[in-house]
Structure formats: structure tokens, C-alpha cells
């Protein structure tokens, strides 16, 4: 077999896998519809507002509900030190550079 044939086969396989990943993504998101609907139902029934991704501190658990200054609630110099705090974007005003 020529090297170019092998290369075309190799590239074809990888491209096929890429297409397969797109099909798989579509398929899995279709299969997850039921589960997502269930989660949405729970969010609606329990009136939830946030993802339970950052449970380490009480002010990172409900990011949409907490105040900007909550990390400093223990005392004014209680600097924010939880890792997930660094993942939260600063206020828009600061980011706009004004």
C-alpha cells in the first residue's frame, strides 16, 4: 500500500470520528432531554436559583443571590480565599475600565 493511501485512510478515519462525535453529541443531547426536563421540573418545583457546583463557601453556593461583599462579611479584612471565588467575574463596571 502506498504511503498516500495510508494517509488518506488515516485522515478519513479521524474525520469520520469527528463526524461521529457530532452525531454522538446530537444523540446524547437528545437522550438527555428527559433527564434535563426532570432537572428543570425540580428547579421549578423547589424554586432553585443556582447550580450546586461551588458548595465550599456559603457565598459561592448561590452566586446569583449573594452580594458582592459577602466574602468580607466576617470582618472587613476577611479577604476572599476560596478557590471558586477566583472564578467569579468582577462587576461589569470594573471590566468596562471606567
Amino acid at each position: 500500500m502506498r504511503k498516500s493511501d495510508l494517509f488518506i485512510l488515516y485522515l478519513g478515519t479521524l474525520s469520520g470520528l469527528l463526524l461521529l462525535s457530532l452525531v454522538d453529541a446530537g444523540n446524547r443531547s437528545h437522550l438527555a432531554t428527559q433527564q434535563l426536563a426532570e432537572t428543570r421540573r425540580e428547579v421549578r418545583a423547589l424554586e432553585l436559583t443556582d447550580l450546586s457546583l461551588f458548595t465550599e463557601a456559603r457565598y459561592t453556593r448561590h452566586l446569583s443571590q449573594s452580594d458582592r461583599h459577602t466574602p468580607f462579611q466576617d470582618h472587613p479584612l476577611a479577604l476572599e480565599h476560596f478557590p471558586s471565588g477566583s472564578l467569579v467575574a468582577p462587576p461589569t463596571l470594573l471590566r468596562s475600565g471606567r
Binding site: R2, F7, L18, L36, V43, L46, E47, T55, E56, R61
Partner: protein, 377 residues
């Protein structure tokens, strides 16, 4: 057309042989290149999937949440505020919500205690999130005992465990009865953590919020849009932070790849000279080098993207878990639903394949238009 294809195949044959003459160098480049694409694609796929999932599941969160602020802090809100706000056009329902945090020293984790409105629970009964059940090693029928603010210990019988499918929103939840919640936290009757307002028409949300701040100046309304925007901003910001952290690596790679692609070694220069001397045209040399760039960059893109897909959607993004987890004891076990943004994929393709291929062609073109005799000397 047939002749063209045949010519390209010969060129590929030649290019592959040329690449295989320096296997260590080219394989090393391919591995590093693929690794960079893998990192970029992983961050991209992960944040996009998480952002899409957050947007989807939180789309049913309450339309308006009203918090009372005292000296700039979130405080309990009296139930009388429900009457005080009066009748607001567009609001079809309003009620108080009871929830709070409890730090469990036994496992050093924060729980979210909540009073559900969709079910009636007995006073000693509790429904817990799957992550709590896992961390505390409890199952249905077991008891959980917590010490309350008044120093008394209260036992809760676990009557059910919330579905693990919805762990992303309920991992640390403990649902208890209203009576027990009030006794446990010492919250007097008639007070709530916040108020929930249901508004039928989303276009009226802003107007309702305006009216609320006028009628109840010590309160802060949080709209559903703001909740969704918070998560959009978090994941954009985080993706940005990871990209900034990766900048050093990417720049190092760019220098390495640029040097490899654009700087011709004496050996390569001689090779071009020989090719031209035996009758290759400038366009053939450029085509050959185009194939060299394309073979490496296309392979790196495909290998990097495919491993990133496997990492994010089949290995639960194991590399990112420590970053997200932070110091959380309770962390949801969830499998992300793949949401792929075609534009993002195209951008990744463009920025990984195109620059490298161009970088290989330009210096070759310069070398190829010079006299073979000069190049070979």
C-alpha cells in the same frame, strides 16, 4: 482532474517520506501540537456544555426573587411585605421562600436547607441530595443529626434521596418541613428568607421590579434574567482565565512551531535545491510544503479535538474537576450533555490549522524562487 489527483498523491507520498526521515522531530511537534489543541478544545467544549446546561435548567427558576437588605446585607423579610407591596399588574403569584445554610462540622461541608412547596414533610423527615447521601454514607431510612443554633440536637429521618440525575442543582440540598426549619434556625413565624414573585409575561419583569423597589425601598429584586446572566458571565470569565493561564504555553508553542515551520534548516534548503535541479517547479515545491503543513496541523487538530471530546464527555472532564471543586466537600457527580457550537469548532479549526500551514509555505516560496545552485551551496 484525474491527473491533478494523481499528482497530489505523489506529492503526499514524497512529503510523508520526507517527514519520516526526521521522525523524532516531527512526532514531537505533532504530540505538542495535539496537546495544545486538546487543552483549548477541552476548555471550549466544557465551558460551552456547562453554560448551555445551566441556561437550560435554570430557565425555570423563579421570575423574581425579592431580598430585604439591612445595612447592606441580606436579611430575613417579613411576610407582611407581601401585602405591603400591594397588587402589581402582571404578578400572578407571590409567596415566601425559606432556605438557609448549615455547616456540618462532621464532614466540614455546607448544606442548603430548604422548605419545599411541592411536598408535605413530617417534622422529623428530610429529603437529601445525592452528594450528601454519598458523603455521609446514609441511605433511605437512616437518621441525620444536626446541632441547631439553640444548642439542641435534632434528628432527621431520611425519607428519600433526590434523583442523582439532577445533582447539578440539588447535590447539597436538605428538604425539611417548615415547622422544623423555623425551630432549627430560630426563625420566627411570619418571616422568610426571601419572597418569590411569579410573573406571566417576561416583558413585564423589569417594570414589576421597578415598582417593587419604589414600594419597598429596602429590598432588592433579582430577576431570572440576572440569574442566567450570572452563569453566562461566570463561564465566560472562567474560560477567559484558563485561556490567560494557557497563554504562556500557547506562545511557547507558537514560537516553536513558527521556528520549525518558517526557519529552513540547511538540510531542507539543500533538499529544495536538489528538487529544483532535477526539474521540480516552484509551484510543486510549494505544494509539497503545503502538504507537509497540512498533514501535521490537520492531524494535530483532529487528534486534539477527539481526545478533548473523550475527556470532557466520556471522562467527565477529570482534568478540570479539581479547578471547579475547589475546597468543596460536596461536589455533584454529573455527566455533561454534549452541546457543540459549530462556530467555536470552526474557529478552533481556523486558528490551529491555517496559521501553521501558511507559516510553512512562506519561507519555502522564498527559497524556491531562488536559483538552485545558490540554494545548494
Amino acid at each position: 482532474m484525474k491527473a491533478f489527483i494523481r499528482k497530489q498523491r505523489y506529492l503526499i507520498d514524497f512529503t510523508l517520506s520526507s517527514l519520516l526521515r526526521r521522525p523524532g522531530k516531527n512526532l514531537g511537534l505533532l504530540v505538542v501540537y495535539s496537546l495544545i489543541v486538546f487543552l483549548l478544545a477541552s476548555v471550549m467544549l466544557f465551558t460551552h456544555a456547562l453554560r448551555s446546561e445551566a441556561r437550560l435548567v435554570l430557565a425555570d427558576s423563579p421570575e423574581i426573587i425579592l431580598q430585604r437588605m439591612v445595612a447592606g446585607r441580606h436579611d430575613l423579610i417579613p411576610g407582611s411585605y407581601l401585602e405591603k407591596m400591594g397588587r402589581i399588574r402582571g404578578v400572578i403569584g407571590k409567596h415566601g421562600r425559606l432556605w438557609g445554610y448549615f455547616y456540618d462540622p462532621a464532614v466540614q461541608a455546607n448544606y442548603t436547607l430548604m422548605v419545599p412547596r411541592d411536598r408535605q414533610l413530617a417534622e422529623d423527615e428530610a429529603v437529601i441530595g445525592a452528594a450528601i447521601a454519598r458523603t455521609r454514607g446514609v441511605s433511605r431510612g437512616d437518621f441525620l443529626t444536626f446541632r441547631s443554633t439553640d444548642g439542641n440536637a435534632y434528628s432527621f429521618r431520611v425519607s428519600a434521596i433526590l434523583a442523582s440525575d439532577s445533582e447539578l442543582v440539588s447535590a447539597d440540598l436538605i428538604l425539611v418541613s417548615e415547622q422544623r426549619f423555623r425551630t432549627f434556625f430560630g426563625i420566627p413565624e411570619g418571616y422568610y428568607t426571601d419572597l418569590v414573585l411569579n410573573v406571566r409575561n417576561p416583558k413585564e419583569l423589569r417594570k414589576v421590579a421597578e415598582k417593587l423597589t419604589l414600594r419597598l425601598p429596602d429590598t432588592r429584586p433579582i430577576l431570572r434574567d440576572e440569574i442566567l446572566r450570572t452563569y453566562d458571565a461566570i463561564f465566560n470569565w472562567r474560560q477567559g482565565i484558563v485561556f490567560v493561564l494557557l497563554t504562556g504555553t500557547i506562545l511557547a508553542f507558537v514560537i516553536f512551531a513558527w521556528d520549525k515551520a518558517s526557519g529552513l534548516s540547511a538540510e531542507e534548503r539543500r533538499e529544495i535545491g536538489i528538487l529544483k535541479a532535477i526539474g521540480w517547479e516552484t509551484s510543486d515545491v510549494i505544494r509539497m510544503k503545503f502538504w507537509e503543513g497540512a498533514i501535521i496541523s490537520l492531524s494535530a487538530f483532529l487528534l486534539g479535538y477527539l481526545t478533548a471530546y473523550g475527556h470532557v464527555f466520556y471522562a467527565n472532564a477529570g482534568l478540570f474537576e479539581p479547578v471547579l471543586k475547589g475546597w468543596s466537600v460536596l461536589y455533584p457527580e454529573f455527566r455533561l450533555t454534549p452541546f457543540i457550537d459549530g462556530l467555536q469548532l470552526a474557529t478552533l479549526f481556523f486558528f490551529t490549522v491555517f496559521p501553521y500551514t501558511v507559516a510553512t509555505i512562506v519561507p519555502i516560496w522564498r527559497a524556491a524562487i531562488t536559483d538552485p545552485d545558490t540554494v545548494m551551496r
